[in-house]
């Protein structure tokens, strides 16, 4: 039995209105690579932040190897002293310094620094970990992967016992990932316990020993990698039992599903976001969906169609006509609307009023020199405030003071006002109350029955099954399958995501 290096027991953490962690246990042993898995909002990052002292836990105990009593980690510095180091997806080193300077900055006690000494020490560390760079090279001249490795080397040299890698592979290509894995195995051999947070399933199965799955702030379980087939991992992350045939009845099978009039056809489309070339079509009156885990490329597909990311290759046809969409305004003028995934960052314009947020897209399409009069704008705002039941003090209220669900309705109103032929809804129901969710789903079905072509993306699989008539399944930036009709079951989706065969 290996030595336990870190034990977290009965951890609780709440934020106002949100139960982020509820009775979570986590155990890490020496020389173990342990994947921490979960969908959005599962509590992964909260757990990491509790462990690194960014958040104070509400209850529970943390034990480190060698300390008999529970430790209280109050700051990231304290975590570091205890031997817990974190390497984030974004490099948190100084790009304008050399590799050696980055390795030792803030850790030298001497008044005068003998860089010769440190450079040779750095050489030894880099050599020992087989990191292909020189101590005197400026960090910004190294590849992202090497920068990440330098960050890891710094952590390891600071005598770390627990190394947390938070999505380290998101911006690396395949070869770089392979190098990083070599380094991780090297560290594992030295007895470092590694917590690996990622959303790439393949990588988990390639490098990890154990998996802890969280969902909705609760512990689902800890598993040996060999005991947990992929499809079961997917099921556990999504909170579904395999073979759970309590089918959600698809009340949505629209009568006009057999419409053959394609609104959007994408052929081998690919963009700067790294999405692999994909084919896609959406017909009049059809609700299509992109299913997949977080980061699988769902949003990237629709962003390529909308021109939000730069399209590199591929063809796009709208109602049979070849189009070249390079910017969102071109997409809007061709009748496409896009409700973006991150409402706060990409959707609302915080300090503008509800009215201005509603008319924005239509106003931009109408042109700079043709502003709506205040009366017209107010009429549009009033119409959609009552149509969608937006709860706001007045149309003059800044959108930022509305609740999440109402903000989302305002953005929805913005796009409905443009009367698009094809509407993309990327996570329209995230972070909003259940009542509003149902309203939005109903609205989607109503719009489709009126002939609009809609793409509906959601992390909640039931929602997709309830609203979509066809699902595109994605994994690791690839389209890996398409399901429709009777094939649209949770099991099929999970098998497809996990990379098993389509036919069970």
């Amino acid at each position: 039995m290996q030595n336990t290096v870190l034990t977290m027991q009965n951890i609780y953490k709440s934020f106002p209105g949100v139960r982020a962690l509820h009775n979570v246990d986590f155990t890490l042993r020496e020389g173990e690579i342990h994947a921490l898995m979960g969908e959005n909002g599962a509590g992964k990052s909260t757990l990491i932040k509790v462990l690194t002292g960014v958040y104070a836990k509400d209850a529970g105990e943390i034990y480190m190897k060698g300390t008999g009593k529970p430790v209280h980690i109050k700051s990231p510095q304290e975590a570091q002293r205890l031997g817990i180091s974190t390497v984030y997806q974004e490099i948190t080193l100084c790009p304008n310094l050399t590799v050696a300077e980055n390795l030792f900055i803030g850790r030298t006690d001497d008044l005068f620094v003998d860089w010769k000494k440190y450079n040779s020490r750095a050489e030894r560390i880099l050599g020992g970990l087989k990191i292909p760079t020189k101590p005197t090279k400026q960090l910004s001249n190294c590849s992202i992967a090497v920068q990440q490795m330098v960050a890891i080397a710094r952590a390891v040299d600071m005598d770390c016992k627990v190394l947390i890698l938070d999505e380290p592979t998101s911006s690396l290509d395949e070869q770089e990932v392979a190098k990083l894995f070599t380094l991780m195995r090297e560290l594992k051999g030295r007895g470092v316990g590694i917590i690996f947070v990622t959303h790439f399933l393949d990588q988990v199965y390639e490098v990890c020993d154990k998996i802890t799955v969280l969902r909705n702030g609760e512990l689902v379980g800890e598993y040996q990698i060999k005991d947990l087939p992929r499809v079961e991992l997917v099921a556990k992350m999504m909170g579904k039992e395999l073979g759970d045939l309590a089918e959600i009845h698809n009340e949505a099978q629209p009568s006009i599903m057999n419409s053959k009039e394609a609104i959007i056809e994408a052929e081998e489309l690919t963009s700067t976001s790294g999405i692999k070339p994909f084919n896609f079509a959406s017909h009049k009156g059809e609700v299509t969906g992109f299913a997949g885990l977080l980061g699988s490329g769902r949003s990237e597909c629709v962003r390529a169609i909308y021109g939000a990311d730069k399209v590199l290759k591929g063809k796009l046809r709208i109602k049979g006509e070849n189009v070249n969409i390079t910017t969102p305004i071109k997409a809007m003028k061709k009748g496409i609307g896009y409700l973006s995934e991150d409402r706060k960052r990409d959707g609302i314009i915080g300090d503008l009023s509800v009215r201005e947020n509603i008319i924005l897209a239509l106003q931009v399409m109408r042109g700079f020199f043709r502003p709506f009069t205040k009366t017209q704008a107010q009429a549009f705002a009033d119409e959609y405030i009552s149509l969608l039941g937006i709860k706001t003090a007045s149309a003059d209220t800044p959108i930022s003071s509305l609740s999440g669900g109402n903000q989302q309705k305002v953005i929805l109103a913005r796009w409905l006002l443009t009367h698009p032929d094809y509407l993309i809804l990327d996570e329209p129901t995230r972070g909003i109350d259940i009542g509003t969710k149902v309203e939005i789903q109903k609205l989607v079905l109503k719009l489709a029955s009126e002939g609009m072509s809609i793409t509906f993306i959601s992390s909640e699989i039931e929602e997709m099954l309830r609203t979509c008539s066809r699902l595109i399944v994605m994994r690791d930036l690839h389209v890996v399958g398409e399901l429709k009709g009777d094939d649209m079951t949770q099991d099929k989706i999970m098998y497809t995501i996990a990379g098993g065969s389509n036919s069970k």
Binding site: I329, S340, I349
Partner: protein, 368 residues
């Protein structure tokens, strides 16, 4: 009875005051009024405007108020452009003093050619105005490209012309210091026979055009949207870089007009001393108007009131015979106070104090 009435009055007064003091225009306007009041206190005839005659015998309006309105012209026009730049780019253009110098240099060269004391103008004034505005727009476009295309912080990007502009102005005049014929002076002084200083008319024109543009185009909506959230704006079909660029070009046009008025005032330009440190006064005017220098929402009327406030302050210090060298210190102190009371923290404290003191005053009367 009287007591009750008194109490009611104080209550009403307190609530009105509270509502007023919450209005975003309250502090700019209150401060302008306060300054004017001090001036009236010092010099009871401060507000008097009279009709006099100038040296040629033409009727002209005379008075402190006229002087303030007249001298504020460049400040007001530049503030209009700066407000838009601040809102869209979340930063300020510090090169405007130097670019006014470039505009002045271009205008003098066009009007005087290579002579130092030409007896007549070398080109029609309209041509000089157009070329001056073109020079201003070119400077604005240069700054705009650096900010919008290369994503350089506005203050850093405009540091280039801030440093080089006055020398460029001197070079534009071929190193000479020419004085243009007197007829060029109409635009910075008086049109013979018309008693209102021409710069005041130009300011009114600029304000009217601005308010019209804000009402009849989407300049305001686009500028605010881009300043608040450029990611979301671009997903809604806007081109944030283009809009930021456009606001810099508008400021460039403002620089062109301000440079024209300024060089017409004495019909000559000293490129190294023309409009000294005006960029700071302009930025302060924007801040005084209740605008966040961090961009986003803006309040054009507030900015314009802010510009007049600063001009009133400058005039006041001059009439008080404050040593010219000490004027900036006084200005600085007053501005610190002014900006400080507009910070949200002190603002809420201030509002509380005002209402509290009114309430206690009311209560005191009750007891009495």
């Amino acid at each position: 009875m009287t007591r009750n009435n008194n109490k009611l009055d104080t209550d009403r007064f307190a609530s009105v005051l509270k509502a007023l003091s919450r209005h975003r225009m309250f502090i700019p306007i209150a401060f302008l009024a306060f300054l004017l009041l001090i001036n009236v206190f010092i010099n009871p005839s401060f507000l008097r405007v009279s009709l006099g005659r100038d040296s040629t015998g033409s009727p002209v309006l005379i008075g402190n108020l006229i002087n303030i309105l007249n001298n504020a012209t460049e400040l007001v026009i530049l503030t209009i452009g700066m407000t838009l730049v601040t809102a869209s780019s979340r930063g300020q253009d510090i090169s405007i003093g130097a670019t006014v110098s470039i505009v002045g240099g271009v205008i003098m060269r066009v009007l005087c050619g290579n002579e130092t004391q030409p007896t007549q103008l070398h080109a029609p004034i309209l041509v000089a105005l157009l070329l001056g505005c073109l020079a201003g727009i070119a400077c604005g476009a240069f700054n705009g490209i650096l900010v919008s295309k290369f994503n350089i912080q506005p203050m850093v990007a405009t540091l280039i012309l801030f440093t080089a502009g006055r020398s460029i102005g001197s070079m534009a005049m071929g190193g000479l210091k020419p004085k243009a014929a007197a007829s060029f002076g109409y635009y910075g002084n008086f049109i013979p026979g018309f008693p209102v200083p021409t710069p005041i008319l130009i300011t009114i024109g600029a304000i009217v055009v601005t308010l019209f543009a804000l009402k009849r185009t989407n300049l305001s909506l686009y500028t605010r949207a881009v300043g608040i959230n450029d990611k979301a704006s671009s997903l809604n079909g806007l081109n944030p870089a283009l809009i930021k660029f456009l606001t810099f070009v508008i400021l460039g046009l403002c620089v062109g007009i301000a440079g024209f008025v300024q060089s017409s005032r004495v019909q000559t330009v000293n490129p190294y001393t023309i409009v000294p440190s005006i960029e700071m006064d302009v930025i302060l005017a924007v801040a005084l108007g209740g605008n966040s220098l961090g961009g986003g929402k803006f309040n054009m009327t507030g900015s314009i009131v802010g510009a007049y406030t600063i001009q009133t302050l400058t005039s006041m210090l001059t009439t008080l015979n404050v040593n010219t060298n000490a004027v900036p210190v006084f200005k600085a102190v007053i501005i610190i106070i002014l900006v400080a009371i507009q910070t949200p923290m002190l603002k809420s404290l201030f509002v509380k104090k005002v209402t509290l003191s009114n309430l206690t005053a009311g209560a005191g009367k009750e007891r009495g």
